[in-house]
Point group: D2
Amino acid sequence: MSSTFGENLRITIYGQSHSDSIGVTVEGFPKGFRIDEEELAAFMARRAPGKDEFSTPRKEADKVEFISGVTDSVIDSDTVEAVIYNTNRKQHDYSEINNTPRPGHADYTAKMKYGESYNATGGGHFSGRLTAPMCIAGGMCMQWLAKQGITVGAHIASIHGVEDKRFDPVNVTADELAQLKEKKFCCIDDGAADKMKAEILKAKSEGNSVGGSIECAVTGLPAGIGEHMFDGIENRISLIAFGIPAVKGIEFGAGFDVCNMYGSENNDEFYCDENGNVRTHTNNCGGILGGISNAMPVIFRVAIKPTPSIAVEQNTVSLKEKQNTTIRVGGRHDPCIVQRAVPCVEAAAAIAITDLILRKSV
Amino acid sequence: MSSTFGENLRITIYGQSHSDSIGVTVEGFPKGFRIDEEELAAFMARRAPGKDEFSTPRKEADKVEFISGVTDSVIDSDTVEAVIYNTNRKQHDYSEINNTPRPGHADYTAKMKYGESYNATGGGHFSGRLTAPMCIAGGMCMQWLAKQGITVGAHIASIHGVEDKRFDPVNVTADELAQLKEKKFCCIDDGAADKMKAEILKAKSEGNSVGGSIECAVTGLPAGIGEHMFDGIENRISLIAFGIPAVKGIEFGAGFDVCNMYGSENNDEFYCDENGNVRTHTNNCGGILGGISNAMPVIFRVAIKPTPSIAVEQNTVSLKEKQNTTIRVGGRHDPCIVQRAVPCVEAAAAIAITDLILRKSV
Amino acid sequence: MSSTFGENLRITIYGQSHSDSIGVTVEGFPKGFRIDEEELAAFMARRAPGKDEFSTPRKEADKVEFISGVTDSVIDSDTVEAVIYNTNRKQHDYSEINNTPRPGHADYTAKMKYGESYNATGGGHFSGRLTAPMCIAGGMCMQWLAKQGITVGAHIASIHGVEDKRFDPVNVTADELAQLKEKKFCCIDDGAADKMKAEILKAKSEGNSVGGSIECAVTGLPAGIGEHMFDGIENRISLIAFGIPAVKGIEFGAGFDVCNMYGSENNDEFYCDENGNVRTHTNNCGGILGGISNAMPVIFRVAIKPTPSIAVEQNTVSLKEKQNTTIRVGGRHDPCIVQRAVPCVEAAAAIAITDLILRKSV
Amino acid sequence: MSSTFGENLRITIYGQSHSDSIGVTVEGFPKGFRIDEEELAAFMARRAPGKDEFSTPRKEADKVEFISGVTDSVIDSDTVEAVIYNTNRKQHDYSEINNTPRPGHADYTAKMKYGESYNATGGGHFSGRLTAPMCIAGGMCMQWLAKQGITVGAHIASIHGVEDKRFDPVNVTADELAQLKEKKFCCIDDGAADKMKAEILKAKSEGNSVGGSIECAVTGLPAGIGEHMFDGIENRISLIAFGIPAVKGIEFGAGFDVCNMYGSENNDEFYCDENGNVRTHTNNCGGILGGISNAMPVIFRVAIKPTPSIAVEQNTVSLKEKQNTTIRVGGRHDPCIVQRAVPCVEAAAAIAITDLILRKSV
């Protein structure tokens, strides 16, 4: 089913932008684990809208309520049910969309798929708001992974051509990743962050939007995690990452740069360090060989398209009349969602990795 | 299970590089469909090794035998079993690898995962040879899709920095895709092909290898195919495409270029053509919005790393002795696999798309 | 995952007897369908506790709230979230059980499986209370099936040796099934019902409990529903029916009586009726051949064990001390759950059948 | 997919009665395990046809060939491919059936489901012959289980009303189960066996057939195996057991007898034995509470209908002409399949139990 991800840890996301609630059912999470609810709230706040001038003014507290499977913060059932009650709904904003699809949105394709039974209000189940339940599950996974010594962290790699520094793919540390999470605008290089903010505000002032990219690292992952062929780390992270609306590309390690390389450049040569651990001097494979971790950091990047909802006038069609027309998308939209998508990408990676760790290979 | 892909059409791939046979179990293929076995053999031949100086000299006919579920070329069971009996096996080439992992290969990670029970011979189930069974299933799907007016075709987009022309993402036609399949070295621009061949031969002469990229298009796909969130076309094609060894990145439509765009540039504006069909003037979304097809061509590109097996001396470790050492990979290897991976990428796309078409949305 | 059932219609049940809420996530339900919420409430009431002297005095309204996926009673998302907030929780009743397992309950096996992380309170996720969410999904399915002309209905076939009349397996009608649902104590033969009630009250007065059986029929199912081998109607109904706590056996059509038959007796001979429909004079196969419906009524029976929670003193062990001891189970328990399980069995059948109908065979 | 069973151990069965081959793909079997191929052949022989006057004269050696994933009898891949090449095919026997369905067979329902694309030859994928591949996987599992101290064994519980002794559900031993496997006609009581044989030969002489039942036990299973709700031992064994053609009912422990019991009779009281092990004096629950094993023997029985293929004239219809007609089923059929189904039931139980053991609960 298309709202479900995972084999041993399984999440099922539900909700619509303007339904009473959105939420997630989490199956198979390690029982007896104590969730730090405060830390989870802090993680949710990184994604939440309405907190600064770079995102939509729609304010949602995104308060997580565990209505089953958690007693006194401890997981005590195979199935955990977490809900966010929507507080700031405005159904009236979407009246026009059902007939005149917004360019770059799923309005048209959903209509073609579901016909009249589709309710475009707030983007239906295509809404970016459904990354909030993904972040609940992801935040839980990040806490569990931390107890195993595994850290997941991401930063804004670029916005509208302005590039942040890259992670050092060999030496990136858990501490670096932790420090990044303290930043309101999550770049390694604060100078780059300022330039990115300027790009966003420029686009915003023109009723426009901008895209960018996010780089994510996973440190502390032992060798041997991931399965061959269709359940490798790359397959599983890609599967879930494209569930974040606006992701249009993903690359691991050296990614598309491998197209230009010799084998002798791209291969990461092995060596034994002073402790007898097998490591590599380079990390072009992004910590993954044959789908399976090699104990070097897992590194990947995703491309995030510009928010399709813009106030600029665009050409579209009226579906009933089969005529050309134009649209300016009103409502409360983000001029850039890259910065808010950073914790979503972390969540996606954490869920995929946890699921793979919980598999039992024999 | 990690050798299995698909929900309504399901493939399970088995085999090892040097086992008696490799093959695929295909479940849920439309019953009553007549397979053109000659056309399938021609498709298999595009991937097969040993046919020119750009690929490994290992010769395998890759003759497909349907041992169950097909009578007189017609599918007459829910489960089809197709086998390729390996003819040209050489077990002795791999003696050294079990202790000294080849850089860039799954030798090390598989050993860490499976321990002594792992048999590295020929790359075990990580072998690129297992793309042959994927091509059987993919070739069957391409024939079935063709009957629905849907064409899948790919070309070499680049090898070691030499770029082919790109598909016109708006106007690419089934005829173009069919013509590409006639070419032995599958580029749009024959001049680029010549330069690519030179790059491969140069690397080969040095015992080295080169990477590249492949671009794939799907034409004729009606609007409304694909599911929301985790079962969108992007998710599903990525999931299977990373099952092709050496794929390290994937991007749809404008892909990573969206990072540098304004929303007003990236959004594909809708218009009605003279027949009342809704179309777009650009195709930055690669024919996919919200995971669902919009009836424009589906376009994606994958990055293929250089073959890791090279004769150049590389640093590695001896696992038992925990010492640094070096390796030169002998055996019969490809200096470049991009050209042979073209039909594999087509197969992956065809399988993913067929599976999505066979889903019943209600 | 073990709280999940279904392929094309999928339900995931969550909750514990004494958690804040219990509920169900329903994926893939036909979009645009209008739920009759009053009828659903009436269905839920048939299962609800606390309504008469034959069941536990714990009162629960079992009010269904759709918190996502349903707008104005119409399904408008692929994922529907339905919740029952528990109102009448008493956590203190279960203090003793964690160390002295109740005979006939999952206390011991759950402890052996989960260790200290298992919370036995109210039976954890083994509680019979979790049949309420199954009934939500089942009630929705029964309404959808009714629109396709398919009726699911059950009755108490026996309680503690007192037998009701059996359904006429050839001629049972939708009307009969509808009338049964109007009865408070759901027997075909009201005389048998009275004797059953007497059995229950006798057991109750002795602090004991009684078992029984339920017979279920599905009318109006067209031929061709169900899949071969592992996804036949029998496989699928069994899989879900054993998810109702206390079910210990299931049989279809003539069931265990086939053991004593000749082929010539058991085979249901075909004939054409006046309308050219193929029918059978007998229905020993229970409407199912090769796992697939033949358009005759589907008939099955399940065995329900006596409620294990009884006030009679029983031998058990104290797990920590590894000593023999005794237990009398206090709290609010049912002297018989057969009558309350009738709608649960209908729900199970309805969900299994709907899932099979929604599959797309090609 | 309906030819597939299992989550962590997964089998996919393919083949038709008269295809070139039948076989099974086994995924997730413990790597490094050495199969005793001779023992497996002996197990296959127990099911094989053509060996005595009680079964079909069709002779099939049912020789198992591992064509991938097994090297020198050792599992060395995640995917094992085992094939039986059919040797004794007769396509011409089935010419009539496509229009005049055999009573008790899937001919009619398959035709209604698949239409003209269905090939009834030899029963298509409904053939009892497909229990041979299930036995391959089951025989492998029985060997693996034996290494964990777990034994699966079954006997003929009844044929046409003649009953064998039952297993002692509390004290049945692995030795007893092993001895049963040595018997050609697998009853505990040899006197009962003789009466059963007489029943079969009487039916055979009349061109008729008889049904019966099989009882299966699993000893040595530790407590804590099985999952709650839909993945309990009962759910999983039922799911696979109904995949054996002719099974029409299943019951665990006291089974349908629980309908007549008091709770105080049915509950199995716990005690500590001299070694501090928790055991029960009775075993009405069949070793399963809440879907999970309690370390007592797992006990279940299945009802097997009489072989539907009989030479007695029966009423049927001609589908094209929509007219009543009659049929006598020719070809080579079994007058009773209960005795041949004994290893199939063992195989089903062994596969289900192995799959559950391989799950990782956290």
